[in-house]
């Protein structure tokens, strides 16, 4: 019967999968979503990571061995990361795991890495809970609260002393950013004149915006996601609000400017990386990325690149790929010159690094400045 033959073959092939790896290669695991809901993030970060691994190998590899990137697609499905990471660790014997962009996927993989004592570096999971799972879990991006502080610093440097806040109460991310913005802003001579709220999926923000308008703020901080922010910007313009809007990396999305049109001109938001940054290392990365993939790299690609580079540097310092020593070496990363800024990992395994401020003008993003932590 066909099915039983198939089963036998599949079992035989599965067993054959445990072929020993060549001794001159260091296996490094990576998981990301190439398909499904968050595919655009996953594809970018995977391209960035693969570019970094190629570059390391072209430069002779580490410890005299080449890195072998073993990649798995988690299809943006819950339940997949745990299986994949178990596969990477037990079958491919990876020395470390790189991934994922979405915090919920990283949170699923993290306990498995922790229990198996295999270091995991997340390129772009900004939720603080991710690295709280254990001492083998790291990240190369800044965490949500940091962006709040950055935007507060930026507003103060622009001389905006009165700021109103519009928070998405349904998102941990938004609430976190607002909380740290208020803390820093009020402590440094600013005044938060009004705090208003909305929920993910809302379409009408005129009530909140009207009550903000009467307080005559210098700027409005909206730490939400692009879908709502673009609508808020349009409605603010209709109501005659002309002050700049401020936000975080949740603004980055294809439809932001498509929906908002010119309503966001003069606004600013923080993010991880800008391809317009004129520094030679950034431009070098952008050129290499363009040559290989024919597209301009985004935040996720740059973070994926940095995560692989930090791992390679740590393997070099540790002189071994043994889990515990590698963990210590990654944790000791100091002033690593990355594409997304100079990265230092703190005792909570989070990256201390500058954020990039982008401005919006004539319907396009423009690099403004970097703000150090």
């Amino acid at each position: 019967m066909l099915p039983s033959t198939f089963l036998k073959t599949s079992i035989a092939l599965l067993a054959a999968g445990t072929l020993a790896l060549a001794q001159d290669e260091i296996p490094v695991g990576e998981f990301a979503s190439l398909t499904g809901g968050s595919a655009s993030f996953g594809q970018s970060s995977h391209k960035g990571t693969a570019l970094a691994i190629d570059e390391i190998n072209a430069g002779g590899g580490v410890l005299g061995k080449k890195l072998k990137l073993i990649f798995e697609d988690d299809q943006s499905l819950a339940g997949q990361p745990a299986t994949i990471v178990r596969k990477l660790i037990s079958q491919d014997k990876v020395v470390a795991v790189l991934g994922e962009v979405a915090s919920s996927k990283s949170l699923e993989a993290a306990p498995i890495c922790q229990q198996n004592k295999v270091p995991m570096i997340s390129p772009a999971s900004t939720n603080p809970k991710v690295t709280e799972v254990g001492d083998y879990i790291f990240r190369v991006c800044f965490i949500d609260p940091f962006q709040g502080t950055v935007m507060s610093k930026f507003a103060l440097s622009k001389g905006w002393k009165k700021v109103a806040i519009l928070t998405d109460v349904k998102q941990d991310y938004s609430v976190g950013l607002a909380e740290f913005f208020v803390k820093h802003f009020n402590a440094n001579g600013g005044q938060v004149v009004k705090e208003q709220k909305y929920s993910t999926g809302d379409k009408d923000f005129k009530a909140q915006l009207t009550s903000i308008k009467v307080t005559k703020p210098d700027a409005i901080f909206i730490p939400g996601y692009y879908a709502e922010v673009s609508l808020i910007a349009r409605q603010a313009k209709l109501l005659g609000i002309k002050v700049p809007l401020l936000g975080g990396d949740g603004w980055v999305g294809d439809s932001l400017l498509k929906v908002a049109g010119t309503a966001l001109d003069g606004s600013f938001f923080s993010c991880h990386f800008s391809a317009d940054d004129k520094s030679p290392s950034t431009q070098g990365f952008v050129d290499k990325y363009k040559a290989k993939y024919g597209a301009v790299p985004d935040d996720m690609a740059a973070l994926g690149y940095d995560s692989a580079m930090i791992l390679a540097a740590a393997i070099k310092t540790a002189g071994t790929t043994e889990g515990d020593k590698l963990r210590v070496a990654i944790g000791a990363t100091k002033a690593h010159k990355g594409i997304t800024g100079t990265i230092t990992l703190d005792e909570k395994r989070n990256a201390q690094k500058p954020a990039v401020i982008l401005g919006i003008g004539n319907g396009a993003f423009q690099f403004v400045e970097t703000v150090a932590p």
Binding site: L14, G17, G79, A82, T83, S104
Partner: protein
């Protein structure tokens, strides 16, 4: 032939007992797949009671699974039993949590079963689908359950023994129920509701019972899943997950427990099998590249199977007992 499920059940339970000390030695990846198979069997066999035997098209099975997963995790997390200790008391808490998850899901099954009894076919499918989304929506907004962030921190307590023990129990209950004098009512409701009613069968009761029992076992499966992955997220219990389970039931053959269990095994192994094929460097490159697009291949296989065997893999073959009934 009456006794076959019982002997199979005993065989599987014995197998689990004998096997459980050894499975710790196998590769954790295969172990992961193995437990995934067990959980799929529970889900598919329990949905088969609703969709296959009772003929009610439910598209919300993952919702019940989610209720079980969150309820049982809530119990074990709030009990806060110590890490890794495999003592009798932690096992008791775990089993109570599973039972609690199952009961909560069963209650939810009752809630969706009673008001939607007047609906049939597509309409019922839409109601159950909506219910699935409601459950997901409630969890996404429930801060104590982690909301959109997901819930983690559970200890891995699901093992080979419990997973396959519950899988065997589910199969046993479903098959025995349907094959009992009482359970013939399920089949009657499926085959001709009006005729069944005319014969004095309380169709309402049977439909609700099918929903509640199906949901109960889905809840158990959810509890096992939560304590095996150690992290759950509302998106893991969405509509797509429900469709996965429905596919298992249809592919295996509606109302054929053996076929449905086989489909659950097949559909759990297949994606992982294709995953490993794409990494075999000794295979020709073009074969690897085909396997890389494994989800397309997987879907193609489903289409081919459905075209060649529209009644399901085992559909029409039937259990020996049922064929005899027809011959009579």
């Amino acid at each position: 032939m009456d006794k076959w499920p019982k002997s199979i059940l005993i065989a599987v339970l014995l197998g689990c007992l004998i096997g459980s000390p050894f499975v710790f030695q196998i590769n954790p990846y295969y172990y992961d797949i193995l437990l995934g198979i067990g959980i799929s069997i529970i889900l598919a066999a329990s949905l088969n009671l609703v969709n296959g035997y009772t003929g009610q098209f439910s598209l919300g099975h993952a919702g019940f699974m989610g209720i079980g997963a969150y309820a049982s995790s809530w119990v074990t997390l709030s009990y806060g039993y110590c890490l890794g200790a495999n003592t009798t008391s932690t096992t008791t808490v775990f089993l109570l949590a599973l039972l609690g998850g199952g009961l909560m899901a069963g209650i939810a099954g009752l809630m969706v079963g009673v008001p939607s009894l007047r609906l049939k076919g597509d309409y019922l499918a839409i109601v159950t689908l909506a219910f699935n989304e409601i459950i997901k929506g409630v969890i996404q907004n429930a801060e104590p359950l982690g909301a959109q962030r997901g819930l983690g921190g559970m200890v891995q307590h699901t093992n080979f023994f419990w997973t396959f023990g519950f899988a065997a129990l589910t199969v046993y209950v479903v098959v025995h129920l349907v094959n009992s004098t009482y359970g013939r009512g399920f089949l009657a409701v499926r085959d001709d509701e009006i005729a069944a009613e005319a014969m004095g069968i309380n169709t309402t009761k049977y439909k609700v019972l099918a929903f509640v029992l199906g949901a109960f076992f889905a809840g158990i499966a959810g509890g096992l899943y939560a304590h095996f992955k150690q992290f759950i997220h509302p998106e893991g219990f969405n509509f797509l997950r429900s469709v996965d389970i429905v596919v298992m039931v249809i592919l295996g053959g509606m109302g054929n427990t053996a076929g449905v269990c086989f489909a659950a095994v097949l559909l759990t192994i297949l994606p992982e099998f294709l995953r490993s094929v794409s990494h075999y460097t000794w295979l020709p490159l073009w074969l690897q590249q085909i396997a890389e697009n494994r989800m397309i291949l997987y879907s193609l296989l489903l289409i081919v199977l459905m075209l060649t065997r529209p009644q399901g893999l085992f559909g029409g073959l039937g259990m020996p007992r049922r064929r005899k009934d027809v011959e009579k």
